[in-house]
Amino acid sequence: MTGISKRFGPVQALRDVGITVRAGTVHALVGENGAGKSTLMKILAGVYQPDTGAIEIGGREHCFASPAQALEAGISMIYQELDLAEHLTVAENIFLGAEPRGRLPFTVSHKHMAAQAAELAQRFSFDIDPAAKVEDLATGDCQIVEVLKALRHNASILVMDEPTSSLSEREAKRLFEVVRRLRREGLALVYISHRLEEIIDLADEVSVLRDGLLVHCEHAAKLDIPKIVHYMVGRELTDFFPTRTAQIGDGLVQVQGLSSEAGIRDISFEVRRGEIVGMAGLVGAGRTEVARAIFGVDKRTAGQVILDGRELNIGSPADAIASGIALLTEDRKRTGLCIELPCSWNITLPNLGHIGFKPFIKPSRESRIAEEAGSRMAVKWSSPQAPAGSLSGGNQQKLLIARWLLANSRFMIFDEPTRGIDVGAKTEVYGLLNKLAEEGKAILFISSELPELFGIADRILVMRRGQLVGNLVTKQTTPEEVMHLAAVAERTL
C-alpha cells in the first residue's frame, strides 16, 4: 500500500501511509487507539475507499469498491468482533455463501460440505469438528473457524485485528502456532495487537502508526518494547490545555475494593474535590466497566463507593444520579442520546425531578432551561426542539455534557468525552473540565489518548485486564511509563 490518505469529515484519519507486507512474513501494526490502524486495514479490505493512494498486490494495482472485491483478490480480514453465524455448524460457516450444490437444484450437499471442511482443516492440521455448532465452541476455536473461512477463499493476505484480546493464555498460544503455520504456508499476515510482548515474539516486521502517520517501520528483531512504546506515544504535548487553576481539597469519593460481574477486580482509589483523575488503559482493560460499576449499570460483586463520607448503596443509574453522580457514557449513540427526540428533552431527561418537573412538565420553562443549558456548552442547533439526531457528532456530545451540567452532580465521570470530536471542541471540553474542578467537583476522566490525560489530569490511574495497575501523579510520570504499565507490566501496586 502506498500513499494512502483518508479523511472522515474534519478528521484526517490517515496521511500518506505506505506499508509493504511480504509473503511468508508476519507484519505487525501497532499504535494508540485512534492512530489509524483499523482504518488502514479497512481500506485494504475494501470496506473504505482511500482518498488518495494505491494498493498493489503481486505487482498488480487494485482498487476495491467493496469487501467482496478485496476477497476476490485474496484479502481476508478477521475482525476483533468475530463474524460468525452462531447457530450454524463449523462447516456451514466456512462455506457460507458458497455452499457445494446438491444433486437437486437449490439444495446444499451437506455431505460434500462436511468432507471439504474436514479436508481443509486437515491440510492445515487444525483440530476441529466440522459438524460442531459455532455457539458451542470456545472463542479460540471460533478464531480457527474464521481462519478456515479465509483459507477457503484462497486468501493470500490475512489481516487479524486484535485476535488475542478475548483469548485465554493457552488459547492465545495455540493461535500463535496457527499464525506461524500460515506463515510457513507462504501467506502474508498483518497482525494488529496492543500486546507488545506478542508482537516482539511473533512479528517479522513492525509498523508504528500515530495520528494517521506512519512514524516507524523496522524489523522486529531490531526493536524492543520500550522502543515501540516510544514511537507510539512520542509526540509533543500541544498547548491547547488550560492552566489548571483548581484548588484540590479533601477526599470526596472513595472507591474501595470494587469488583463487578463485568470482570473488574478489587479497584480502590480516591478522587478529591477539585481534582481531575485520569484513567488510562487499553481497549478492554476495564476502564468503562469501573464507571459502570460505580454508576450502578453493572452489578457490584464486592467493594463500596463512599461519597462525602457516606457509603452509597447504588443499584441503578437512577440511584447514582440521586446520590450526586453523573456518567457521560463513551457510546453516545447507544447509551447517550434519544436521537429522534428534541434536544431539549434530551437535556432534561435525567433532571425532571430536581428542576421541579415532577409531577408535571412545564413546556415553556423546559425550553428556556434547555436553551440556557445548551448555550452554556455552545451547542449549535436550529432550535431546542430539533431532534438530537440532526446535530453533528461534536454537538451531540456537547448536548450530553449540557445534560450532566444541568444535573449539577458532585462526582462526574467522563468516559472518552473527546472521542470523535474535532480539536476545537476538544479544547472546549478541557476548559470545561478545569472549570468544573474549580467549582469543587470531583472528576474521573477516562481516556485512550495519553496526551490529553497528561494535559489535564492531576493523577493518572492505569487499568490492565480488569485491575488497577498504576496510580501515578501526572507530574512525576511519563507517557512511556503509563503505556508500559497498560500494555506490559505486571501489577506493581
Partner: protein, 317 residues
C-alpha cells in the same frame, strides 16, 4: 415545516374523505345523527387506541386488548347478573362496572409484569395472554353471554344531546394527551421507546414505567369493555375479536412508529376517525364489508409508505 406537513397528511386525508362523502351522500352522511353514530361506534376502539399509542411509543405492542375487553366485560356481566340469575339492579351495575374496569387494570398489570420481570418481548407475552384471556372469557359462562338488558347508560345515554360514550372518549383522550405530554411518565415512555439503554443510563426506571404503561392500557380497555357491553346490552365472550388489529392500524396511520419513540394522541384520533368514517362511508355507498377490508388495508400501507417517504426526504434535506 416538514414535520408539520407530515402530521397534516392523515388529517388532510380525513378531511378529504369527509368532504367527498358529504358531496356523494349529503342526505345520509352529513347529519348530526350519522356523525353521532360514527363517534359513538368508534368510542371504545378509540379509548383502547389511546393506551395502544403509549404502548407503541414505548417500543412495545399489546395484542391482547381484544381478548382483554371480552374478559373484562364477562367478569362485569358475571357480577351484574350474579352469574346469570338476576336482571342487573343499579347497585349491581355500578359494582359490575368497577369490577370490569378493575379486571382490565389487572390484565394490564399482568402483561406489564411478565414483559419486564421475565424480560420477554411484548409481542410474545401479549400473544400468549391474548389466547389466555379469550379462553377464560369462554370458561366464565361456558361460552354463553350474559344478558344485561338494563345496562344501557353507557351505550345509549346522552348528556346534553351528546352520547355518554363519546364524552368518556373525550375525557380519555384529554387524559392520554396530558399524560404523554405533561408528565414524566409520558416523557420517559418516549425516551424508552427511542433508546431504552440511553433512558436507563439517564436514570429512568424503565421497568416501572413499562408496567405503568401496560396497566394504564389495561384500565382503558376495562372502560372500553363497559361501553361495548352497554352498547350490545350483553357481555359477550366473543367481543373484540381482531379488535387489536384495528387499534394498531389506527395508531400506525396516525404516524406512530412500531420501533418506538414516535406517536401522538392527535395522530391516533385521526387514524381512528379515518377508519371509522371509511367504514361508515362504504356502508352508506353500499360497498360491501369485504371491499371495506381491502380499502382499509390499502390505507394502512399507503399511510406508512407516505410517512416514510416524507421522513426520508426530511432527513436528506
Amino acid at each position: 415545516m416538514n414535520k408539520f406537513v407530515r402530521q397534516l397528511l392523515p388529517f388532510g386525508t380525513l378531511t378529504l374523505l369527509i368532504v367527498a362523502l358529504s358531496a356523494l351522500e349529503p342526505d345520509t352522511f352529513l347529519t348530526t345523527q350519522n356523525f353521532s353514530n360514527v363517534l359513538s361506534r368508534s368510542s371504545y376502539s378509540g379509548i383502547i387506541a389511546m393506551g395502544m399509542t403509549a404502548v407503541i411509543i414505548s417500543g412495545g405492542i399489546d395484542l391482547s386488548v381484544g381478548s382483554m375487553m371480552a374478559l373484562s366485560g364477562m367478569i362485569a356481566g358475571l357480577v351484574m347478573t350474579q352469574h346469570g340469575s338476576v336482571i342487573p339492579t343499579p347497585g349491581l351495575m355500578v359494582l359490575g362496572t368497577l369490577v370490569g374496569m378493575g379486571m382490565g387494570l389487572l390484565c394490564g398489570l399482568l402483561n406489564g409484569s411478565l414483559i419486564t420481570l421475565l424480560d420477554l418481548p411484548p409481542f410474545i407475552v401479549t400473544l400468549g395472554t391474548m389466547s389466555a384471556f379469550r379462553g377464560i372469557s369462554y370458561v366464565i359462562n361456558k361460552g354463553m353471554m350474559f344478558d344485561v338488558p338494563t345496562y344501557t347508560f353507557l351505550g345509549e345515554g346522552k348528556i346534553a344531546d351528546v352520547p355518554v360514550n363519546v364524552l368518556i372518549f373525550l375525557i380519555i383522550v384529554l387524559a392520554a394527551f396530558f399524560l404523554l405530554r405533561y408528565t414524566p411518565l409520558g416523557r420517559y415512555t418516549y425516551a424508552i421507546g427511542s433508546n431504552r439503554q440511553a433512558a436507563y443510563h439517564a436514570g429512568v426506571n424503565v421497568k416501572r414505567n413499562l408496567i405503568a404503561v401496560y396497566a394504564i392500557t389495561g384500565l382503558f380497555v376495562g372502560i372500553a369493555a363497559m361501553i361495548a357491553t352497554s352498547r350490545t346490552v350483553s357481555a359477550q365472550p366473543t367481543a373484540g375479536i381482531s379488535l387489536e388489529l384495528d387499534v394498531i392500524a389506527a395508531v400506525v396511520i396516525g404516524g406512530a412508529s412500531l420501533s418506538g419513540g414516535r406517536g401522538t394522541v392527535i395522530g391516533t384520533i385521526i387514524g381512528t376517525l379515518l377508519i371509522s368514517f371509511l367504514r361508515n362511508g362504504c356502508t352508506l355507498l353500499g360497498i360491501s364489508t369485504n371491499i371495506q377490508l381491502v380499502v382499509i388495508g390499502a390505507i394502512i400501507i399507503g399511510a406508512v409508505a407516505l410517512d416514510q417517504a416524507a421522513r426520508a426526504k426530511a432527513e436528506t434535506a
